[in-house]
Symmetry: C2
Subunit: 209 residues, 2 copies
DNA sequence: GATGTTTTTTACCGTTTGGTCAAGGCACGA
DNA sequence: TCGTGCCTTGACCAAACGGTAAAAAACATC
């Protein structure tokens, strides 16, 4: 008698759903990262995605939902390099590798960097939970690891927490303040190598035991 | 016969004008710096200033005019420490003094820092002229000065342009990403001294000949 | 090719936004 | 104290905003 679909109907996601959700999130990343949340409109995102406004609201409940989905999707990838710091590796190599990976991400994924930057500058209203739940524990764990390395004399004694922060500051600056960089150091092709070498020098000198 | 007011009537600014313009600009700084230009509304600014919306539009032609007035008013103060780099001083002292002054500004004037940061992250649409006309020449001049000091062997050889950029990156990070700092390093009172000491160590090690 | 479902569109709604306008309140010099 | 010009306000726009309803279109499955 019960010919209704099962309560927990899997409702498999179609190929169109997967495609369009991706198109929308990519458009949202583009728009949010260069306008901030409040400065972005559904029309902008729809236009960027090549879909109508009601159509993107068919896939996401609201503008806020798109933003949350973006943060959830990108947070892990963003933290992966820090997560990958290997306690059993050679400390200086591990840290310089981390610095290089962060520089590479600033070059390849500036939109992601700016998405987070916009959010944090404006007080992290929608990201506070992410920061406290995902970032803080990882940050504390890696700071502890750095202190252990310092205690063992394998890298120079520095403030572990502020060391991590300064790596973020210098590397992400190249993505977040790209507009300024373009005005001040226009020769694009070689600028990234110069930047990379300079940042490498900063932290190599700082950490040399 | 000609009892009309002189063509170039000075139209002296009244004390009320001076007071209210200041109140509005201060409110605008507060609002723009924590919401970005597009994310800020005239109602927010009016509310913050304790004036009505039509009233603030009596003193400034438009939202954009407030933003431009703010940038013009703050740009000079913002660049003063760099400007003050003394070619005849002791290079390492001059540079470490600059670093310390920038840290102090991040602590005392985070709103100004965030105002600029918001604008540049979003592509500097309203600040491009300022960057090219005010910042670029100063930046080039000081980079040249740094190269001279390096050639004389008075500070270590580094990429002059990227050295300036990394000083900005590290120092302004403490103002722009304050929300993140609060989550990761909560103990406010001593954090600023730790930050200051750490930043000092970075550039002292980097620049030591 | 009929049928049920998913996707897209058209038209629309209530609210917020930047900005205007005319009229009234107020200060201040004559 | 009177008038003139500065200051302030309430009422009001048109456009843009986030979001909804319902029907049309496209699609998949048989």
């Amino acid at each position: 008698m019960d010919d209704s679909p099962p309560k927990t109907a899997p409702r498999k996601t179609t190929r169109i759903q997967k495609l369009n959700r991706k198109r929308i999130l990519d458009a949202a990343l583009e728009v949010f990262s260069s306008n901030g949340f409040r400065g972005s409109t559904l029309d902008m995102i729809a236009g960027e995605a090549g879909l109508s406004k009601p159509n993107i609201l068919y896939y996401f409940d609201s503008k806020e939902a798109m933003h949350v989905a973006l943060l959830n999707e990108l947070m892990d990838a963003w933290l992966e390099p820090l997560e990958a710091l290997n306690p059993d590796g050679e400390p200086l190599d591990e840290l310089m590798g981390y610095v290089q990976k962060k520089m590479e991400m600033s070059r390849k994924f500036p939109r992601e960097s700016r998405l987070f930057a916009n959010e944090i500058i404006q007080g992290a209203p929608r990201m506070a939970p992410h920061l406290a739940k995902r970032l803080k524990p990882l940050f504390d764990a890696k700071a502890t690891l750095l202190r252990k390395w310092m205690a063992e004399g394998r890298i120079a004694q520095q403030d572990a927490e502020h060391l991590i922060m300064s790596i973020w500051a210098v590397t992400q600056h190249y993505a977040d303040f790209e507009a300024q960089l373009d005005v001040l150091i226009p020769k694009k092709e070689i600028a990234w190598r110069r930047a990379s070498d300079h940042v490498e020098a900063i932290f190599r000198k700082l950490l040399h035991p």
